[in-house]
C-alpha cells in the first residue's frame, strides 16, 4: 500500500496553491458577493492547463491522470468552492463524457477546445419534475431526417448562462425505459436552445445556474453522443467522475474550515488565553482534522480506482456522501469557533458554510448516494 502522491502531483498541488493565493483569494469574496463568473480567472486557469488535466495532450489536455485533477480541485476549492466546482463539472463530467464516449470527430471538435479551456462545458440533465428521479424527465428528442429535434425544459444547469458546450439528455424512446434516453452535444447559439431563469443562490454564488429551454432545437445526427439509448448509462458514468470531483470540492472546503479554525482559535483570546486552549474548541478541531483526513483518503482512493481502470461507482458515492456531510458539519462548527465574527460577511467561514450545503445536494443528494451505496453492498 502506498499512500504517497507522486512528486509531480505534489508539485502540481503546490503550484495550484500558489495560483490560488495569487489569483483566487483576492477575488473570492467579491465574486461571491456579486455572483460574478470570473472570466479573467478562467483564462488564467486555461493557460495553466488546469481545465483539462486528465485529457490526453492530443485532445488539448495536460495528459495526466484523474487523481491529479482531483488534487487540483481539492486545492482550488480550498480557496473558492465555486471555482473548484466549475472546474470539476467541466473536466469531470463534460470533458470525460466526450473522452469516454465521443467519436474521433467529436473529440477534435468539442473536447479539444474544452480541455484547452477555451470553451466551458455544461451538464443538462435535471428537470423541474425530475431531480433524484431522473426517469421522470419529459424532454424529448424526436428523429427527423438526419436531425434530432429537442423539446423540453431543463433546470439547475450549472454554467447554463456561461457555457459553450452543453450535454443534454432527452428521451429518444421513452417506452424503452432505462435504455430510452440519449445524450446530445449542443453548442451555444444553436437555434431553439435558450437560457431561462438565472437562479440566485444561498452559496456557490459565482457559479452560474439557470434553466435551459429547448423549443424545436435541431441537433444534427453527428452530435449524438455515444449510441442512441445509452444516455442514462453515460450519465451514470459521468456521475462517477463528477461525484469524485464534488468529494474533492468538499474536501477543499473542509480543509479551509480547518485552516481558518486553527488560525482563529489560536489568535482569539477570551478569559485570558487563546480559545484553542479550551477543550471544547480543541476537540471540535480534532474531529475536523480527523474527518478531513478520512475525506481525503476516500476521495483520492476513488480517483485512484478510476485510474486503475476499476469500477468506482460505490467509491465515488461513498466519497461524496462522507466528504459533503463532513464539510457541512464542520463548516457549521467553524462558524461556531469564530463566534459572532464568523457570522458576518467577509469572514471566510461564513462563505464556507453557505458553499458547503450544495455538496449534499447536487450530482445526487446524500439520500441518492445512500441508495447507490446500499444497492451496491446489498446486491
Amino acid at each position: 500500500m502506498d499512500f504517497k502522491l507522486t512528486e509531480e502531483q505534489e508539485l502540481i498541488r503546490k503550484n495550484m496553491r500558489e495560483f490560488t493565493e495569487k489569483h483566487v483569494d483576492p477575488i473570492a469574496v467579491e465574486i461571491d458577493e456579486t455572483s460574478r463568473h470570473p472570466e479573467e480567472l478562467f483564462k488564467k486557469l486555461a493557460e495553466g492547463g488546469w481545465m483539462g488535466i486528465p485529457v490526453p495532450v492530443e485532445y488539448g489536455g495536460s495528459g495526466s491522470d484523474y487523481l491529479t485533477h482531483i488534487v487540483a480541485v481539492d486545492e482550488l476549492a480550498r480557496s473558492c468552492a465555486s471555482t473548484g466546482f466549475t472546474v470539476s463539472i467541466h473536466v469531470g463530467i463534460a470533458c470525460m463524457l466526450v473522452l469516454l464516449f465521443g467519436t474521433e470527430d467529436q473529440k477534435k471538435k468539442f473536447l479539444a477546445p474544452m480541455a484547452r479551456g477555451e470553451k466551458l462545458g455544461a451538464f443538462v440533465l435535471t428537470e423541474p419534475g425530475a431531480g433524484t428521479d431522473v426517469m421522470a424527465a419529459t424532454t424529448t428528442a424526436v428523429k427527423d431526417g438526419n436531425d434530432y429535434v429537442l423539446n423540453g425544459t431543463k433546470t439547475f444547469t450549472s454554467n447554463g448562462p456561461t457555457g459553450d458546450t452543453y450535454f443534454v439528455f432527452a428521451w429518444t424512446d421513452k417506452a424503452a425505459g432505462r435504455k430510452g434516453m440519449s445524450a446530445f452535444i449542443v453548442p451555444r447559439g444553436t437555434p431553439g436552445m435558450e437560457v431561462g431563469t438565472h437562479f440566485k443562490k444561498m452559496g456557490l454564488r459565482s457559479s452560474q445556474t439557470s434553466e435551459m429551454v429547448f423549443r424545436n432545437c435541431r441537433i444534427p445526427q453527428e452530435n449524438l453522443l455515444g449510441k442512441e439509448g445509452a444516455g442514462l448509462l453515460m450519465a451514470m458514468t459521468g456521475f462517477d467522475h463528477g461525484r469524485t470531483g464534488i468529494a474533492a470540492q468538499s474536501t477543499g472546503i473542509l480543509q479551509a474550515a480547518l485552516d481558518e479554525s486553527i488560525r482563529y482559535s489560536k489568535e482569539r483570546v477570551q478569559f485570558g488565553q487563546p480559545i484553542s486552549r479550551q477543550q471544547a474548541i480543541a476537540w471540535m478541531i480534532a474531529d475536523m482534522a480527523t474527518d478531513l483526513q478520512a475525506a481525503r483518503f476516500l476521495t483520492y482512493h476513488a480517483a485512484w480506482m478510476k485510474d486503475q481502470g476499476k469500477p468506482f461507482s460505490k467509491e465515488a458515492s461513498m466519497a461524496k456522501l462522507f466528504t459533503s456531510e463532513a464539510a457541512m458539519r464542520h463548516t457549521i462548527k467553524a462558524v461556531q469557533i469564530h463566534g459572532g465574527y464568523g457570522y458576518v460577511k467577509g469572514a471566510k467561514v461564513e462563505r464556507l458554510m453557505r458553499d458547503a450545503k450544495i455538496t449534499e445536494i447536487y450530482e445526487g443528494t446524500s439520500e441518492a448516494q445512500r441508495m447507490v451505496i446500499s444497492g451496491n453492498v446489498l446486491r
Partner: protein, 254 residues
C-alpha cells in the same frame, strides 16, 4: 546566445516549521521548496533564453532525496539539470557549496552567465554566489534587480545602500539576483509533467575533489515565539498614551 547556469538550493519551507514551547524547532512535518530568490534566478535565466535564445542548465547541491526539487527547477524553464548529491550534503556551509559548484561547473558545464539567488531562504549567508565567482575567476555582480544581455556583456542595475547603480561586465559573469528582478512563473500542469522527461545529470561525491571540512559548528537553533499579552488599545487619546507608556516600559521605545 548565452549558455546559462541557474543555481538553486532545495530548502525547508519555513511555513511548516513548528516552534515548541521551549523554542526548539520541530522539523518532523516539514516540506521543502526551491529557495525563494533562487526561483528568481531560474526565472531570469528562462526569461533571457525566451528573449535572446541560448540554453539553461539548473544546478543544485543537496541530498539524494531532493529529486522533487530538481523536477521543480526543470518545470521552470531549464532544459537540463545537474544534481550534485550525497547524504552528507544536508548542512553544507557556503564555502563548501561554492567549492563543489565550482568543481562541477569547471569540469562539466560550459557557461557564459551564471545566475544565483542573492541569498538562501534558510541561512541567507549571501556567500555562495560571490565565492563561486571568485573560485571560477569571473566577475560577480550582486544585488541585481534588473538584467539585460547586450552582445557579449551584461548590463545590470544593482541596488546598493546608497541607491541604484548600473554597471556592465563582460561574460562569462556571475550575477546574484534580488526578488524584484522578476515574478517567478507558476509552472503549468504540462510544465510539471514534462520536467520528468528532461535530462538530469547526477554527480556524486566520489566524482568530486576533496571538500574541506566545515569551519562552522551549529551549537543550537531556537525559534522566537510571539506571546500576546491580550491588552487592547483603541484610538482614544488616553489609550494612545497608555500604548506609548507600555512600549517605553517594555523597552521597545527609548
Amino acid at each position: 546566445m548565452p549558455q546559462m547556469i541557474a543555481c538553486f538550493k532545495w530548502v525547508v519551507d519555513e511555513a511548516y516549521i513548528r516552534v515548541g514551547a521551549s523554542g526548539d524547532l520541530d522539523m518532523n512535518a516539514v516540506d521543502y521548496k526551491i529557495s525563494d530568490y533562487d526561483k528568481n534566478a531560474l526565472e531570469e535565466a528562462a526569461r533571457i533564453r525566451e528573449q535572446a535564445g541560448g540554453s539553461v542548465a539548473a544546478v543544485t547541491v543537496g541530498v539524494p532525496e531532493a529529486t522533487k526539487g530538481v523536477k521543480d527547477a526543470l518545470s521552470r524553464g531549464a532544459e537540463k539539470a545537474f544534481f550534485i548529491q550525497d547524504p552528507s550534503f544536508r548542512d553544507l556551509e557556503p564555502s563548501q557549496t561554492a567549492r563543489i559548484l565550482a568543481a562541477v561547473i569547471q569540469s562539466r558545464i560550459p557557461y557564459d552567465l551564471i545566475l544565483c539567488g542573492e541569498g538562501s531562504s534558510d541561512l541567507y549567508a549571501r556567500q555562495v554566489g560571490p565565492r563561486l565567482a571568485e573560485l571560477l575567476g569571473i566577475p560577480c555582480l550582486s544585488f541585481v534587480q534588473k538584467l539585460t544581455v547586450e552582445g557579449d556583456r551584461v548590463v545590470a542595475e544593482r541596488r546598493t545602500d546608497e541607491g541604484q547603480e548600473v554597471c556592465t561586465a563582460p561574460m562569462p559573469v556571475l550575477v546574484t539576483v534580488l526578488p524584484d528582478i522578476n515574478t517567478p512563473r507558476i509552472p503549468s500542469v504540462r510544465d510539471t509533467l514534462m520536467a520528468s522527461k528532461k535530462e538530469v545529470v547526477p554527480v556524486r561525491k566520489e566524482d568530486l575533489p576533496d571538500i574541506s571540512s566545515p569551519f562552522l559548528e551549529t551549537v543550537s537553533m531556537k525559534g522566537t515565539s510571539l506571546k500576546r499579552s491580550g491588552t487592547r488599545f483603541t484610538e482614544d487619546p488616553g489609550d494612545v498614551k497608555a500604548f506609548v507608556d507600555t512600549l517605553l516600559q517594555k523597552g521597545v521605545l527609548k
